[in-house]
């Protein structure tokens, strides 16, 4: 055992995989302790709020202000307000009016604005431009002038007795973020339901891992039991078990999974049931390999000796055969866990995932993101972290598996 552990720690792949996996596990357990609360709480009203820190605008207005004179404040303000489409329109007009913009950088808002203010005039009517378009540019110009024009906003408190001017906010007024009572950091923004994606992701990863583990345990137990029986008993039991196993190796597990998940019906399909179904459809691999290994062990001397001593079937299997295939079973289990997580995600994308309103899974998060077309509207935070999490989990599990493989099969060692 000690020797095995030392070998494992020498395998860089196993160590790397284990580290990533432990890191994921730690995040899953520690993050909810640091930031408690319901992960599925819909804090946002709109869909897909960008990642970042949100500062209460209401609190900012009433907080204590300091005056800071920053020379580039105006430019930054303009650049932030000027949308990409506006910039494109501006270059469009400039080109149509015959100005050379070939060396203009779209990211350099200053230069673009300077050029615009220097050249634009409502009287220039580029050839072929229709009236509506001309008016559009007139409006754009006005709004550009307005943006840089106004100096302050008045804050008005609207009460029953009438409006009362509370304060005036100048361009040079600044508020310290620490003074604002309500700020909220959403490292990964919100999803289509307005939920905190990071919090949801952590709890989804936990559920998905649980699904993977249940599926892996079920599949390994079935595969191991059937494989042991088929391999050790041989004869008729072997024929029957291998008949079933061969059939279910060829019929794709994915198809069976869809059919069973569908026939269970939406209401009964909780995370545990989905995990069970995944386990029930993915044991064939384990069964086949366990059987072939048991067959090679069956006639070893120590097993024969045990049999001659009159030990029971259970005892022979547990003490004389199982220890020899344990390493293989552990590796198969690791792979089952990672494929279980993947199966859940695929099922959910087909609309056959766990039906639940209390818990999120990685597959369901992906499904929601796709249904609300996060991928086409640029909300990368709703789907990319999910893909990355699935990939990292199965990457770490597979690395550990490869590491174990190298330890047990010296021929593969680097």
């Amino acid at each position: 055992m000690k020797n095995l552990l030392r070998n494992l720690l020498h395998s860089s792949k196993f160590v790397a995989g284990a580290l990533i996996f432990i890191l994921i596990l730690l995040t899953i357990f520690i993050y909810p302790l640091m930031f408690p609360g319901n992960p599925l709480e819909m804090i946002g009203v709109g869909t897909f709020a960008k990642p970042g820190t949100y500062v209460s605008a209401y609190d900012a207005v009433t907080s204590k202000k300091e005056t800071l004179r920053l020379s580039d404040a105006d430019d930054k303000r303009l650049a932030a307000r000027l949308s990409y489409e506006d910039k494109i329109s501006m270059t469009e007009w400039l080109t149509a009016a015959g100005f050379d913009i070939s060396d203009l950088d779209l990211d350099d808002t200053d230069e673009l604005l300077d050029m615009w203010h220097a050249n634009y005039s409502p009287d220039i009517k580029p050839k072929g431009m229709i009236k509506a378009k001309l008016n559009y540019f007139k409006r754009l110009n006005n709004s550009l002038l307005e943006m840089s024009g106004s100096d302050n906003y008045l804050v008005i408190d609207r009460t029953d007795e009438g409006d009362e001017v509370k304060s005036k906010i100048n361009k040079t007024d600044y508020v310290n973020v620490k003074d604002i009572a309500n700020t909220k950091t959403l490292p990964l923004g919100t999803d289509n339901f307005g939920r905190d994606v990071l919090k949801e992701l952590v709890s989804a990863a936990k559920t998905s891992l649980q699904i993977g583990f249940i599926a892996g345990i079920v599949a390994t137990l079935i595969g191991l039991t059937l494989g042991l029986l088929a391999g050790y008993l041989g004869g008729f039991a072997d024929d029957i078990i291998m008949f079933i196993t061969n059939i279910f190796t060829v019929i794709p597990g994915f198809v069976l999974l869809i059919l069973i998940a569908y026939s269970i019906g939406q209401d009964q399909r909780g995370p545990a049931v989905v995990a069970l179904v995944i386990g029930l459809t993915s044991w064939t691999w384990t069964c086949r390999s366990v059987r072939s290994q048991v067959i090679s062990l069956r006639n070893r001397d120590h097993v024969n000796l045990s049999r001659l001593s009159g030990h029971s079937l259970v005892r022979i299997i547990l003490t004389d055969i199982l220890p020899y295939i344990a390493s293989y079973v552990v590796m198969a289990f690791i792979l089952q866990v990672s494929s279980g997580i993947l199966s859940e995600a695929q099922l959910s994308l087909l609309g056959l995932g766990p039906k639940t309103t209390e818990r999120a899974t990685l597959g369901l998060m992906m499904n929601w993101a796709m249904l609300y077309s996060a991928h086409t509207n640029g909300s990368w935070w709703a789907y990319f972290p999910v893909i990355l999490t699935i990939t990292l989990i199965s990457f770490s599990l597979n690395l550990m598996n490869t590491g174990l493989d190298q330890v047990f099969n010296p021929a593969l060692r680097d």
Binding site: V250, P252, V255, L259, Y262, D267, H375, I390, F395, L412
Partner: protein, 334 residues
């Protein structure tokens, strides 16, 4: 040749038994669903009707049409009889379209997408894996972790990433469908061009996924073979390296073919989900719409077709394997 005949006969019998089990499962499982789909379609048709007897009449008509008023075993025989005539029933959700109609318009897309992609991925992966095993140091160190990482990206994840990068961000390729939505399938140059441009992203996402897994498998197999006694002996005899690599490659290939046969089902499953991401007009998207609409004739037909596809591919790979592996040949002559 006699030995081969025995081998093929055994394989064909297996194929038939599995086929029967698959058909039975395909029939029984969706029909175990607690909800009554006939009631659902009646409800849709009878919207706004107040006359209860008329609604009942509609329900009866539909029961008749879908054959759900007969006992299960009778339905099964009707199902099997119709299946051999190529009739897979009527779709609930796209009523009155025939299921076989919907399937036949989708299956071509899936086959044309998945098989070239899986084969290209398999070949590229094996070449890379063999190369990694032969070169080992350095190359192996960089390539292997990357391969393992990429092969662990789920197929749908790779599809989404490619779609966002090449379709949405750089606008190099179209993001959904099998051809431009304003076109009618025909044999014109512009249509073929449109099909090819829509083909790119789904194709490469499947290829990228399969490369990694195959490369890893091929690498371990090749390393295993490179350490075998016959290689050492051949080196000792002074046989040229290129010749030895040829032998090693061939021997390492064999388990890879079996591996492909055993994993083809999983690969197709993953690729079907990737189809949904691209709204590719194949079986994956058909299955998705069937699941959303609780259309069980369509679900059992798509799963059946997929199973048959996998069965045929597995069968063909078994046959190919029998020809390539000399041990199978030898075993049959005993």
């Amino acid at each position: 040749m006699k030995g081969y005949r025995k081998y093929f006969r055994k394989k064909i019998i297996w194929f038939l038994i599995t086929f029967v089990v698959a058909v039975t499962l395909n029939f029984v499982l969706p029909r175990l669903m607690p909800a009554d789909p006939v009631a659902a379609i009646t409800g849709k048709m009878a919207q706004g009707m107040t006359d209860a007897s008329a609604v009942q009449e509609i329900y009866k008509r539909y029961e008749e049409e879908f054959g759900t008023n007969k006992p299960m075993w009778q339905q099964f025989f009707i199902f099997v009889k119709n299946m051999f005539r190529g009739d897979l029933g009527t779709s609930f959700s796209q009523y009155p379209r025939k299921v076989s109609d919907i399937i036949s318009s989708a299956i071509g897309w899936t086959i044309a997408l998945q098989f070239p992609a899986i084969i290209v991925g398999w070949i590229l992966g094996n070449l890379l894996g063999a190369l990694a095993a032969y070169v080992r140091k350095g190359f192996d160190k960089v390539l292997l972790p990357i391969s393992i990482f990429i092969s662990n990206v789920p197929a749908f994840g790779m599809a989404v990433i490619l779609l966002v990068l090449f379709g949405v961000k750089w606008k190099i390729a179209p993001i959904s469908g099998g051809y431009n939505f304003d076109m009618i399938p025909n044999f014109s140059w512009s249509f073929i061009k449109s099909v090819i441009s829509h083909y790119q992203l789904p194709f490469w996402s499947i290829v990228l996924i399969s490369i990694g897994g195959q490369a890893i498998g091929m690498r371990s197999m090749s390393i295993y073979e490179l350490n075998a006694d016959y290689v050492k002996y051949a080196r000792f005899l002074g046989i040229k390296d290129t010749k030895i690599v040829g032998y090693v490659f061939r021997n390492a290939m064999l388990p890879q073919i079996t591996g492909l046969a055993l994993s083809i089902g999983t690969m197709i499953g993953g690729a079907l989900v990737a189809e949904i991401i691209f709204s590719y007009p194949g079986l994956g998207s058909t299955m998705y719409s069937a699941v959303t609409a609780a259309d069980y004739p369509l679900i059992s037909a798509t799963t059946l077709i997929i199973t048959i596809m996998v069965l045929i591919v597995t069968f063909l790979l078994d046959i190919v394997y029998g020809f390539i592996d000399p041990r199978v040949k030898a075993a049959q002559f005993d």
